[in-house]
């Protein structure tokens, strides 16, 4: 593939989003990045969306729709925050704890899936209820508050969010593109039966996938918790909403992934959504309007993906 075509494929969507967002904000007379707080907000959004997108896509690419990832983020952040407050641990340890606990809870979700052999959607829903209930029980329903802990609530910054983005992305690329596990994962994606016949062990691969997705959600839970200094409880599938923000960036990531590493595609998808999110903030867009715009963007992009060749033909005919 030609370099220009690759660059075009990689940067068209984020660049187009940036141009549109800048143009609209200029018309509205609003500067997109007016304060440091705007930068922090943008990077937090990118980090959040990228982590959820990666966590969701790891299993979804293999046909496993895991509804429990939001509850994994909730439970891991609740336990890590509780331990960190009790033992006055530094913020780095809380992040590490959250990631490790997320990996454990993700692994457990996977274990239940491979043991009970029910459809992953059902197992995901069951685990979501279980983890939400567990988080509720651990805190007595009162959630966790650490507003007095200046170190923990002082975490949000462009530098810290950038570090998380880079570390998570590097780890995921390393694991999925440069290890035997990653090769097996890709082999299973392209042909499950054949891969199993040639000796690739599907169950351990699945469990590790769930574990990695959980670790990513542990980091996401940590970001959400340190943003407000409080973790509020949710029940009855309230944690599921977290994953819906990841669909559009996941599809964008998949498209960009044709031209570059698909994980970087997810990052660029998250950057695009981060820009849109910041535009909502800066232009004070009503939440109902936000939902309409986000839904339209998703539908339009899916229409484009499903009719890509037709669009290309139309462009060729136009020439």
């Amino acid at each position: 593939m030609k370099m220009t075509k690759r660059l075009f494929g990689i940067f068209t969507i984020p660049a187009a989003v940036l141009i549109v967002v800048l143009a609209v904000s200029r018309i509205q007379g609003v500067a997109l990045f007016a304060t440091e707080g705007n930068w922090v907000s943008f990077f937090r959004s990118v980090a959040n969306v990228m982590l959820v997108t990666l966590a969701l896509s790891i299993n979804l690419n293999s046909g496993r729709f895991d509804f429990s990832i939001g509850s994994v983020a909730l439970l891991s952040s609740v336990i890590s925050a509780t331990i960190s407050i009790q033992y006055q641990l530094p913020v780095g340890i809380m992040l590490l704890l959250s990631v490790v606990l997320g990996a454990v809870f993700g692994f457990l979700s996977g274990l239940v899936y491979v043991i009970v052999k029910l459809p992953p959607i059902i197992v995901g829903l069951a685990m979501a209820l279980f983890y939400e209930g567990l988080a509720f029980a651990v805190t007595g329903g009162y959630g966790v508050s650490f507003v007095n802990n200046t170190e923990l609530v002082g975490f949000p910054s462009v530098r810290n969010y950038s570090l998380i983005i880079v570390a998570a992305l590097a780890a995921v690329i390393l694991i999925f593109d440069y290890t035997k596990f990653g090769y097996n994962y890709k082999a299973l994606l392209s042909g499950q039966k054949v891969s199993v016949h040639i000796g690739i062990r599907e169950i351990p691969n699945t469990l590790i996938c769930y574990g990695i997705a959980g670790a990513l959600m542990g980091a996401q839970g940590f970001i959400t918790a340190t943003n407000t200094g409080t973790i509020q409880m949710t029940l009855n599938f309230g944690s599921i909403g977290a994953m819906f923000a990841a669909f559009l960036p996941m599809f964008i990531g998949g498209y960009i992934g044709r031209y570059i590493n698909d994980k970087i595609g997810c990052l660029l998808g998250a950057v695009s959504m981060g820009l849109v999110s910041l535009a909502y903030v800066r232009m004070d867009v009503d939440s109902s309007v936000q939902q309409i715009i986000s839904a339209l963007l998703l539908v339009c992009f899916l229409i484009f993906l499903n009719n890509e060749q037709k669009f290309k033909n139309l462009v060729k005919q136009g020439r």
């Binding site: 907000s41 508050s145 007095n148 002082g154 509020q232 029940l235 004070d284 939440s287």
Partner: protein, 396 residues
């Protein structure tokens, strides 16, 4: 003749004794606790500090003091859920339903009365039209909670507190205003009305209670100057997504902002407002997270419901189940307003919180509630209207 006199005297004395006995019985009806009374509790919120505190009071105090068993619904999301939960209560032989869910109260009342189950509203009130329709229904016990005027006054007092301190730059967190939740709209209107009074201006050409209509028109609060006071920021809703948190952060960091007035749970601003020197005021409940925030100086004012505030409505319901309904002279059900405890310092907060979170000696103890069993409407109303911390402590 003497015989007749004696007989007459005897009959008169007997009649007087009988009347006295009846009077004594009427004044102090006997509380028969031989049978366990099952009471269903409808809840639309199971995770907020307020909901948890209410539940703890019923399950960890009231249930230990009286022969009652509370059966809670799951978190309800609509009126269909309420109907299903009430069906479940009826099937489980609940004698009464106490509702903390308000999707469709007339339907709840109709369903309960149709099944011969008593129904009461806790921490809320019916609209005037709803009350007119239900007040003589024998199964409708009544409602106790902050009425909309109390909500308006709560918002007014909150803003006035900071205006009196000389603050002029405010931001308002509108909570459920975009969803047209009455109590949040009234609280916000009260805040703006106080700003109009002190700032000597108007909000969209309206002052006082006329502001309520302006908020209903927009489903939001408009930023801008109100005389020499200014609303510099506004965020509504509970979207909890990146854009919403971004808006909260942006609002908390608005240049010159002095105070964030939250019509509902304001804890999501604690992190965003840190280090900005911004004061926060909130309407919610006395909970551990607010205690920490008060002690840290992050939260500066709380108008909070106290968990035992749902004690009187329990006793009214229990009394009705036991055959002693509390009605006014016209036979109408209870319709009483009850306000908030206001803390403006960590010391006050901790004093209130110690009582509110106590499971041994809560704000309303068994001894106090027993006095309401089968009481007159006026006595009951007088008890409920003395809701401030000092008034309640004075009753002990």
């Amino acid at each position: 003749m003497k015989k007749w006199r004696r007989l007459t005297a005897f009959l008169l004395t007997a009649a007087m004794v009988l009347m006295m006995a009846c009077t004594v019985m009427a004044e102090a009806p006997e509380m028969d606790e031989s049978e366990t009374v099952k009471i269903g509790v409808l809840v639309s919120d199971t995770t907020s500090a307020e909901a948890l505190a209410f539940r703890a009071y019923y399950e960890e105090y009231i249930q230990n003091q009286y022969n009652v068993n509370f059966m809670y619904s799951d978190e309800l999301k609509d009126s269909a859920g309420e109907a299903s939960a009430i069906d479940n209560f009826i099937a489980n032989n609940c004698k009464a339903v106490i509702s903390l869910s308000s999707f469709d109260r007339p339907a709840q009342i109709a369903q309960c009365s149709g099944a011969g189950v008593y129904y009461a509203v806790a921490t809320g009130t019916l609209t005037d039209e709803e009350y007119e329709a239900a007040k003589t229904n024998e199964y409708y016990v009544g409602a106790i909670g902050p009425d909309l005027m109390t909500e308006y006054q709560t918002g007014y007092d909150m803003a006035k507190y900071f205006l009196d301190e000389g603050k002029t730059k405010f931001a308002i967190f509108g909570g459920a205003i975009p969803y047209y939740t009455d109590m949040h709209i009234y609280r916000a209107a009260g805040m703006l009305a106080a700003m109009c009074d002190v700032g000597e201006g108007s909000y969209k050409d309206a002052t006082g209670m006329d502001i309520i209509g302006k908020i209903y028109e927009d489903g939001a609060v408009e930023t801008g100057a109100i005389g020499n006071v200014e609303v510099v920021g506004y965020v509504g809703g509970y979207d909890m997504d990146d854009a919403w948190f971004g808006k909260c952060g942006e609002m908390a960091q608005t240049e010159g902002l002095e105070v964030i007035l939250a019509v509902g749970n304001g804890s999501d601003f604690f992190g965003a407002a840190k280090g900005e020197g911004v004061q926060i005021a909130s309407v919610d409940a006395y909970a551990d997270s607010y205690k920490e925030a008060m002690e840290a100086g992050t939260l500066n004012y709380l108008a909070g419901k106290f968990s035992a505030s749902i004690g009187p409505i329990f006793m009214a319901t229990y009394s009705a189940v036991k055959g002693y309904p509390i009605r006014d002279a016209e036979g109408n059900a209870l319709a009483l307003s009850q306000g908030y405890w206001v803390a403006d310092s960590a010391e006050t907060f901790n004093t209130y919180y110690a009582v509110d979170s106590s499971k041994e000696e809560p704000a309303y103890t068994k001894e106090m509630l027993d006095g309401l069993f089968g009481s007159s409407y006026d006595d009951f109303a007088a008890f409920v209207s003395a809701y401030t911390f000092d008034e309640i402590q004075g009753l002990k």
